[in-house]
């Protein structure tokens, strides 16, 4: 994750709107990428920078809502700010439910837009941080042996070492050795930290 200037993607079929937004955002020190349609945007190789997408609802071929769904299914987690010249309530509800940061009716002021961008970038940072953390945990999980992974799961499900030993039919001492290796490999100082890692990695549900 390089901490260079965030990239703002703009997808709008109206050339003038795209150009105006580009000028405005560049004046505010953002990197800007303009696309005239959804497919162009999807085809673009997105750098791993913090970014957000300003997306027109009405687009040729693939409208904004469909692009939002497509991005979700492709694991493209760039936060979206919808803009629309004729948005109706059902559409904006759908957009927000799909995880959009904001829905700005055209015309909008730079203040509203910049506010939304700030929130979107913040959200993107959290998403990216989460992703990085998750990746990190999984990298550690992958170093566990199958027996250690099993002990990891059972510890996280709340079982005591002697319960695990009884269930597995192994000596308590053996389980204790496995357990300390898990703590070491997972870089967890306490059981609580270990359970937190398991939750982040999606091994156990958070509730």
């Amino acid at each position: 994750m390089t901490s260079s200037k965030p990239v703002i993607y703009v997808v709008d079929d109206d050339v003038s709107v795209g150009r105006a937004l580009s000028l405005l955002l560049k004046a505010h020190d953002f990197n800007v990428e303009i696309f005239k349609c959804a497919t162009d945007f999807l085809a673009f190789k997105h750098p791993k920078t913090s970014s957000c997408l300003i997306l027109d609802l009405r687009l040729p071929y693939m409208n904004g809502l469909v692009l939002q769904e497509t991005m979700a299914s492709q694991g493209l987690t760039i936060p979206i700010i919808f803009i629309s010249g004729h948005g109706n309530i059902p559409m904006s509800v759908k957009a927000m439910k799909g995880g959009a940061v904001d829905f700005l009716p055209k015309p909008f002021t730079d203040k509203d837009l910049l506010n939304a961008i700030d929130r979107a970038i913040a959200k993107d940072k959290i998403i990216n941080k989460d992703l990085a953390e998750k990746e990190n945990i999984w990298r550690r999980i992958k170093t566990l042996s199958p027996r250690e992974l099993e002990v990891f799961r059972l510890v996280c499900s709340g079982m005591l070492s002697k319960q695990i030993a009884f269930k597995r039919g192994t000596a308590l001492q053996t389980i204790k050795v496995h357990r300390s290796r898990v703590m070491q490999k997972m870089q967890a100082k306490t059981v609580t930290a270990l359970i937190h890692f398991a939750q982040k990695a999606g091994l156990i549900s958070s509730k």
């Binding site: 150009r19 405005l24 004046a27 009405r58 010249g85 004729h86 015309p107 909008f108 002021t109 730079d110």
Partner: protein, 470 residues
């Protein structure tokens, strides 16, 4: 019979001859008696001879007569046979034709035109099925008395006139079966004339077109519904696309302007470059402003309406025309329109189509008001004058009336109490009447229902009386 009695006389002749012979034998025996007796005898003989010859003659004559009559009988017999054959053929033809008339689904009836009350003298099976009356109810009855009395009086009148003028008639009308069921009747009546051209009968053929009508009606209804939906839909769509088209350049302009502000607020370095950039942005702003203006210009040309065409109008005639237009609708909804038109109504200046629109709106409004109530059936359209400078047209119904709190609002745009109303009818009517220099007003009747009336100024200087059936 006469021939036979004459034939019987024939065998009498031989007995007469025998008698003559016997008398002559007795005469020879008494020859010597006297001369006078002789003379007497000769006389007797000659008399008998004459008689015999006469009898022979008679006999011949009789034979001739008999022969002649036998011949005659033969020909007559042949003729009768021929007639019988002919009659059989005719009967066969009648049978086939009756069968044809009975097998058609059209109702057929024949009216005797030479009797004063025009009784029905024949009806086929389908006519009985269609009307629901038995043959005995139909035959001898006057067609109108029978069942068409409940039909539209205008059409009934038209048919009566047609019959009285010996013309043919065809048209559609709403009839009722014996059990009260409605059906649409496509009726054709044609006069039948004898060789001298006098109308002796009328033949009526009627087709039950209810289903066809219903289908037409359904199609019409669907079309109207569609029209309504598209009208409302079009408006929303139009507004939405208009908003979009204008919001695009506005969005761009705002962003350009705010980008320029941002650039100006930035550090004053590379002034020449900044100036160029600002000039470029200003040009973009001008371009997008023109784009927005173009949208507005297009909108204006779209909404520009053609001026109404004013011409002298006979309001009574226009009302009659409009009532005719509405007849079917009114009959279907089981309502009645009456007109009380002031025959000396002066002409007014107006746009025919617009004024008709107003009349249609008012009549439809009255029909809607009476929809829920089967007992209120009557709409009365009246024309009259209070002030010689203007005419008054009044549409009075016996419907639900207007709640007092709404009476001022009924002419507002989008004000409606109907579930599927747009709230445009009366407000459009109101602006049309105002454009004609008149006024449209509403009030409740003391005996229920509402009256909507409008005034229109008369053409100055002209005051032509018009014919108006009332």
């Amino acid at each position: 019979m006469r021939n036979i009695s004459k034939m019987k006389t024939k065998p009498k002749t031989p007995t007469l001859k025998k008698r003559k012979k016997s008398s002559s034998v007795s005469g020879q025996k008494k020859e010597k008696k006297s001369v006078s007796e002789k003379e007497n005898r000769t006389e007797e003989q000659s008399r008998l001879k004459r008689q015999v010859s006469n009898l022979g003659k008679n006999c011949n004559h009789l034979r001739e007569t008999v022969n002649h009559q036998a011949d005659e009988l033969k020909t007559k017999n042949g003729q009768i046979k021929e007639w019988a054959d002919k009659e059989k053929l005719a009967e066969e033809q009648i049978r086939i034709r009756t069968k044809a008339m009975d097998s058609t689904t059209d109702g057929i009836f024949i009216i005797d035109a030479q009797k004063r009350d025009f009784p029905i003298i024949y009806s086929n099976h389908s006519f009985q099925v269609m009307t629901g009356y038995a043959k005995k109810d139909i035959l001898g009855q006057n067609y109108f008395l029978l069942y068409a009395a409940a039909a539209d009086p205008r059409i009934a009148e038209e048919i009566k006139n047609t019959l009285q003028q010996n013309r043919s008639f065809h048209g559609e009308m709403l009839n009722f079966r014996k059990n009260g069921e409605k059906f649409w009747n496509y009726m054709r009546i044609t006069p039948v004339r004898d060789t001298s051209g006098v109308v002796t009968h009328y033949i009526g053929i009627q087709t039950d077109v209810t289903l066809m009508r219903q289908r037409d009606f359904e199609i019409k209804e669907q079309r109207e519904e569609l029209l309504h939906v598209t009208r409302v839909g079009k408006l929303a769509e139009f507004v939405s696309s208009l908003a979009h088209e204008i919001s695009q350049p506005l969005t761009a302009i705002l962003s350009y302007a705010q980008a320029a502000q941002r650039i100006l607020a930035g550090p004053p370095s590379r002034l020449a470059e900044r100036e160029l950039q600002l000039q470029e942005i200003l040009q973009y702003i001008v371009n997008d402003d023109q784009r927005a203006s173009e949208v507005i210009r297009r909108l204006r040309s779209l909404l520009k309406k053609s001026d109404p065409e004013f011409a002298p109008i006979d309001m009574n005639a226009l009302i009659n025309e409009t009532v005719v237009l509405m007849t079917t609708d009114i009959t279907v909804r089981n309502k009645v329109i009456k007109t009380e038109l002031y025959t000396k109504l002066p002409f007014i200046n107006g746009d025919r189509i617009q004024l008709q629109q107003v009349l249609l709106n008012l009549i439809n409004n009255s029909l809607d008001a009476m929809e829920a109530n089967d007992e209120s059936r009557e709409i009365v359209i009246r024309t009259f004058q209070k002030d010689p400078k203007e005419i008054i047209v009044e549409v009075k119904d016996s419907g639900c009336g207007i709640p007092q709190q709404n009476i001022k609002k009924v002419f507002n745009h989008f004000f409606t109490t109907k579930p599927d109303g747009l709230g445009m009818g009366l407000s459009i009517s109101c602006s049309i009447i105002e454009a004609h220099g008149g006024q449209l007003e509403a009030e409740n009747n003391s005996d229920g229902g509402a009256t909507l009336y409008f005034t229109i100024p008369v053409i100055r200087g002209k005051s032509k009386g018009t014919k108006g059936p009332s």
